[in-house]
């Protein structure tokens, strides 16, 4: 089994709801964006096209971050998810330099979104994040263990995201990739990302 995701750029309207729900689900501190949406414009007036492209950890089958991590804090689960053990991370940030997708974040010191004091949500949520270590998207592993989809998939209002098993040729995402021509980012680097984008 290898978990993967397909993002249909034709359906994505760039609402950034996935980024917001990721923040809410994982309580990531300021400056730590496990998921973000970038907007790209092409063409010239009056024929202009705007595409929204959600970005997060690609959970590569051949992750360069795992290769360089000196402490084995970065590891790959049997289901293909690339995760970080914060107890092992020393904060050398080598993985950040190795990731061609720039999807890792270093949490240097405690920060809150509002001055003076943390909100009750922050007090509860930030206990999950150590300072001085690197973090990133883990496909909402705690949700997967409960049999739920990742928060970004479950909450996408246009259902632009599909989550499933890449190893299963009959899974919905395998069919989408096959039928609609799913693209990986920087395939030439040999990282074999588990996130595929369907053309807009």
């Amino acid at each position: 089994m290898r978990y993967g995701m397909v993002i249909d750029l034709k359906k994505c309207i760039g609402c950034t709801g996935c980024a917001l729900v990721c923040k809410a689900e994982n309580a990531t501190p300021p400056g730590v964006l496990w998921l973000r949406v970038i907007k790209q414009e092409s063409g010239k007036y009056p024929q202009v096209r705007r595409v929204s492209i959600p970005l997060q950890c690609m959970h590569c089958a051949e992750p360069p971050c795992l290769e360089v991590c000196p402490t084995e804090a970065t590891f790959q689960r049997a289901n293909g998810i690339v995760d970080i053990d914060p107890e092992k991370c020393v904060g050398c940030r080598y993985c950040m330099m190795a990731c061609p997708y720039d999807q890792r974040f270093y949490y240097a010191k405690e920060r809150t979104y509002f001055p003076d004091h943390p909100t009750p949500f922050e007090l509860a949520g930030y206990q999950r994040h150590q300072t001085g270590v690197v973090s990133k998207c883990n496909f909402c592993s705690p949700r997967l263990e409960k049999g739920l989809d990742p928060a970004c998939v479950a909450n996408c209002m246009t259902q632009a995201r599909t989550f499933g098993d890449l190893d299963n040729p009959n899974s919905e995402i395998s069919k989408l990739i096959r039928d609609r021509g799913g693209n990986q980012l920087y395939p030439e680097l040999g990282t074999n990302p588990s996130i595929y984008y369907l053309p807009p």
Partner: protein, 296 residues
Amino acid sequence: MARAEPFQVRVTDLRERFRPQREWAEGRGLLLILAHFLTGAGTAAWIFAVPFRLDSGLAFGFVLAALGGLGHLLFLGRPERFWRMATHLASSWISRGLVGLTLFLITAPLYLLILLSGARETTLAVLVLALSLLGALWTVIYKGFVWASSKGIPLWNTPLVPALYIAYALRGGIAVLIVLAALGAHPPAWEPLEPIKLWLAVSTGVLVLIYLDVMRGSGMTALRSVDLILFGKLAVPFYVGAVLLGLILPIAIGSFAYFGELSRWLLVLVGLFSLLGDLAIIYCVAKAGIYRPLPA
């Protein structure tokens, strides 16, 4: 805004098509650059001090490498867990480097103690010296591979970077010994060092030119990084630090040595300029690192 609010800078960076890497070049990242410079120059000084029997060079080389090791430690977000870094030798160059540096930092002071006790020619001394040289050589070699294995940064992701770092470390080691020799610890000792230094300066200069030229043709991101060095915000540290102080002046002054005797203070200047140049090129290469644009 840029300095006071680093997380805001990160958020701003993420909106950019070409995002600079900041973790290894700003704030505590400067410690990493300094650490790489010090460990390189220190261990190379040790390597060159052995055949020339420059004991003060050995001691100073060890001190520099130890300071570099401290810099590495202070750079970490969780320094108390540093020992874990030796657990992934199979593929991580940081792990491999830690082992080499640790070997050097254990055996080098041991050898210095043996020297102090006057037992230079014993079997134990030879064994400890051999191990320290192995650690020193390993430390000189590994650093460039750390940068070169970073797939996210095209400017570094080339086999030329290890060659560049090895050349600069060796140059730094010679420069340290020249400064020490000229300052009087070993007055006549600089004479055999100067031709080596001159040769290393010329070859390093050629290597820098090749590196920048090759990277200009290695894709849009690497080209942008090189432009940052040659024409952008890194032009001053590059031209003044790496080129003028690090290459032109040491080569020019070193060439005079063939026509007449160089004064002691001129030699000190050559060494110091050269060291500043080494630091400048490491800084420029680190700071010019840019991530590949997303999406492709």
